[in-house]
């Protein structure tokens, strides 16, 4: 009897192992990964400069900041919200740093000011969404104008271009004597950190619960609004981080800094397989999507394709990202319906 049970258990284990493997190979992350490999192979044939270690590393500078925005955006979108004000927060943050720099602040102070401004702006968003209960799309649509508007109103056509020398390290520095940019390593560290929070902590678990059903989460004792508030605050903080890196890298602040980046960050999140309706997706998908879009653009720039072609390509990728899981879902639903029908038939026969 017990032997029988053990055998059954083992069967179930093997079954689920096989299933897990097949699930991995049919997963969106895996498709993304294959595409990424495909892009590397393709461009290494087209251009001799693509598979160059130094080039590849340096190219990461062109996408690390946007990818950092995407990392915290995952949390916002997973819980069923949206934040389209991040690029404006970045601008406000950069403006605050530029302003302080003119007044003689050192690079440490500048970093603190940049992060604090981002955090404060995120808190404003979170407050309006969770306490005043305005839908997040409306709140961030408004703050998108307001945050950037502040820097535009004061700076007008001017720019802050004076930053301390040491401040340049964050965006232009390399790790030790290597050719690995500080920004890229920082992005990877943040990705690991956010991945850990998302997949290994109670915070992450609750986030998925909220994204799937805010009402059932509430009935399970989860403080839904507190988590949504924290998401917005952290998203602001990450915009502050991106502001430090970008300002440091280009060494100047203009009011139009990082225009449109909010959409690029959201694109990475959705392309990474996070459902725009919330509750589904993971960090790996978004990290792979970041590399994919980053290196696709790099490769296209190497072979002198125009920026417009790149924009069209990302758009096409995005539609694919939404379409493929949807088609998979429909196929699954059809199969389920079929099995339910046969079940009903069996039942009718039995009775």
């Amino acid at each position: 009897m017990s032997d029988n049970l053990v055998r059954q258990d083992r069967l179930i284990d093997e079954f689920s192992f096989k299933k897990r493997i097949s699930r991995l190979f049919s997963s969106w992350e895996f498709i993304l990964f294959l595409t990424l490999v495909g892009i590397f192979i393709l461009f290494s044939f087209i251009s001799p400069y693509f598979m160059d270690y130094f080039n590849l590393m340096n190219a990461s500078l062109s996408f690390a900041e946007k990818s950092i925005l995407a990392l915290s955006m995952i949390f916002v979108i997973l819980s069923g919200d949206i934040d389209i004000s991040v690029a404006s927060i970045l601008a406000l943050s950069s403006f605050a740093m530029g302003n302080a720099s003119v007044k003689g602040a050192g690079s440490g102070t500048l970093v603190i000011i940049g992060l604090a401004t981002g955090l404060a702006a995120g808190i404003v968003n979170g407050f309006l969404v969770t306490k005043i209960k305005i839908p997040s799309i409306a709140v961030t649509l408004a703050t998108l104008s307001i945050f950037r508007g502040i820097s535009q109103a004061i700076l007008r056509d001017n720019a802050y271009t004076h930053y301390p020398l040491k401040f340049a390290y964050f965006g232009q520095g390399y790790i030790g004597n290597s050719v690995i940019p500080f920004e890229f390593v920082f992005f990877l560290v943040l990705a690991v950190l956010m991945g850990f929070i998302l997949h290994k902590t109670t915070y992450g678990r609750k986030l998925y619960a909220i994204g799937n059903s805010a009402s059932a989460s509430r009935f399970s004792g989860i403080n839904v609004d507190r988590i949504r508030f924290i998401n917005f605050a952290v998203n602001g903080l990450f915009a502050g981080i991106a502001a430090v890196l970008l300002t440091s890298r280009i060494g100047s602040t203009r009011p139009n800094i990082a225009t449109g980046w909010e959409l690029e960050a959201i694109t990475l999140v959705v392309l990474g397989g996070v459902a725009i309706t919330g509750g589904k997706g993971n960090i790996f998908g978004v990290v792979i999507a970041s590399l994919l879009v980053g290196y696709l653009k790099f490769g296209m720039a190497l072979v002198n394709l125009s920026a417009k072609v790149m924009v069209i390509t990302t758009g096409a990728l995005l539609i694919t990202a939404v379409l493929v899981p949807m088609l998979l879902e429909i196929a699954k639903a059809k199969q389920k319906l079929r099995s339910q029908r046969s079940e009903l038939k069996l039942e009718r026969k039995a009775s």
Binding site: I12, Y208, A216, S220
Partner: protein, 505 residues
């Protein structure tokens, strides 16, 4: 009345996986007849209505319209055949005008072929006529959102009349109306009847059935229990048919010793929902809450669990006043609440069974906010085994389970928090008989262990079979509290419909 039946249903059965919603029932109605469809929630009334209106396709049996077999493929088919239903919850477009709402889906168009642009003038005129017809004094151009609940309901009725239906189904049409408006509705119903239309009238209010209906059919548990002329029936004979005399073996209420009071509720109010609610709950006791839908039972439980705030009143737990501002606080105090709506509130369908079971416990099972997946796994396995959840593995999505097993997941989820007070809100709604018995056994065992239990149910046999005491609510008030021995179906049902003259009993 020797006219031939306009609509006849013969030997109708409807099966859903695991449930027989209707079991070879017959039903017929003649022109010029108002026919009451009577039964408790889950008796099969709405399933029958959905078959008549083409929403469901019956598993077996025939639907005859004017003696000919019909085969509706959709609600639209039924509508074009002259069948219309007015639903409990008005399904209207608040931002559109009365005219637009009435003609939604069958706009009048210009041109001989009826394919031209929308003919607003004709539609507005027709609306005016329809409104005059039912003596509703509002403008055809008024936006629906500007209307009161009763007016909206009358617009729904006008909408039903606009398609010139031969069979009109009214599902609890008076639930939102005042007495005067009910009189107006009666007038309309009588006129429709005199015009030779057939009216199917669903109501929980007995006085209405006796006021307006000619004939009745009673359903219970998907079966036809009785039918006949209303003039030959009495309230008590109909109640008998509705609830049945025998409380069968479904309710294995075990012996338990009633201990000290754990929860005292005194004069609890929530404006607009319930008023002056007072009751005590003892250890080892199952306290039933009975009432019709909208009686305010769920609203009381939501306050006890910290979902909503009370306007006034006191709740004492083990003698100490408490006021839970969040569910988490109620949970920490040892209260668990199994909500009414399994899909929206009870489970997260797209998460795994294991994750659903451990969701209220994740904080307790974690170390500094980091998940302890091993501890979660073993907790989930323990309770899945205890509650006998049938699944292909705890990693399966909860949506893959049957309704009964989903409800078991909700039970496992809340039992795993180790509650001292367990509130169950309609815990057996829409689940199969076997699981139902299992749920009752678990509840009974918990009471035997000395836990205090509140059982909210709209199923009279369940409340009578399981409870030590029964609190009966009607429109936000407690109308009666019965001890187990003195509770009989008629008395409890009368208290729930608050029959005048019986309130003091």
């Amino acid at each position: 009345m020797n006219t031939k039946a306009i609509l006849e249903l013969k030997d109708i059965s409807m099966y859903f996986p695991g449930i027989k919603a209707l079991d070879s029932v017959d039903f017929s109605i003649r022109p010029g007849e108002v026919h009451a469809l009577i039964g408790e929630n889950g008796a099969g009334k709405s399933t029958l209505v959905k078959i008549i209106t083409g929403v469901y396709k019956q598993t077996a049996g025939q639907v005859l319209l004017n003696g000919e077999e019909t085969n509706f493929k959709s609600a639209l088919d039924a509508q074009s055949a002259g069948i219309t239903a007015i639903h409990q919850e008005a399904s209207m477009f608040p931002e559109l005008s009365v005219t637009e709402n009435i003609f939604m889906g069958h706009h009048v168009k210009k041109g001989a072929s009826g394919k031209g642009p929308v003919d607003w003038k004709t539609m507005r005129q027709r609306t005016r006529e329809l409104l005059d017809d039912i003596e509703l004094d509002i403008s055809p151009d008024a936006l629906v959102k500007s209307l009161g609940v009763a007016q909206r309901h009358m617009v729904e009725i006008a909408k039903a009349l606009s398609i010139d239906a031969q069979i009109v189904i009214m599902d609890e049409p008076t639930s939102a109306l005042t007495l005067r408006e009910v009189e107006d509705l009666y007038k309309i119903i009588r006129r429709l009847r005199d015009e030779g239309k057939a009216i199917i009238f669903i109501s929980h209010k007995f006085e209405e059935i006796f006021d307006i209906c000619d004939t009745y059919t009673v359903f219970r548990d998907g079966q036809l229990i009785g039918d006949g002329n209303v003039s030959d029936a009495t309230i008590s004979s109909i109640i008998n048919m509705m609830v049945g005399r025998s409380l069968d073996l479904l309710y294995p209420k075990g012996e338990s010793t009633i201990g000290d009071v754990v929860l005292e509720v005194e004069n609890l109010n929530r404006t607009g929902y319930f008023k002056n609610i007072s009751f005590n709950l003892h250890k080892g006791e199952i306290l039933g809450f009975f009432g019709l839908i909208g009686a305010g039972r769920t609203e009381v439980m939501r306050v006890l669990f910290g979902i909503d705030k009370a306007s006034s009143g006191e709740v004492r737990l083990n003698g100490k006043p408490v006021s839970f501002t969040k569910p988490k606080k109620a949970m920490k105090a040892g209260i668990a609440y199994i909500p009414e709506d399994r899909h929206e509130q009870g489970t997260i369908l797209d998460m795994s069974i294991a994750d659903n079971i451990t969701l209220p416990n994740v904080d307790e099972l974690s170390h500094f906010g980091i998940l302890d997946e091993k501890a979660e796994r073993s907790l989930a396995e323990d309770f899945a085994k205890k509650i006998e959840i049938k699944s292909a593995g705890l990693n399966m999505k909860t949506s893959t389970l049957s309704g009964g097993n989903q409800q078991k997941v909700v039970l496992a989820k809340w039992l795993s928090t180790g509650p001292e007070i367990l509130i169950l809100d309609e815990p057996t709604k829409g689940i199969d008989v076997g699981t139902k018995a299992r749920v009752h056994k678990i509840v009974s065992d918990m009471a035997a262990e000395g836990k205090a239990i509140i059982l909210v149910s709209s199923e009279l046999p369940e409340v009578l079979g399981m409870s030590d005491r029964i609190v009966v609510m009607h429109e936000g008030f407690v109308t009666s509290v019965f001890e187990r021995e003195e509770a009989d179906p008629d008395k409890v049902m009368l208290a729930a419909i608050a029959q005048p003259g019986d309130e003091s009993a």
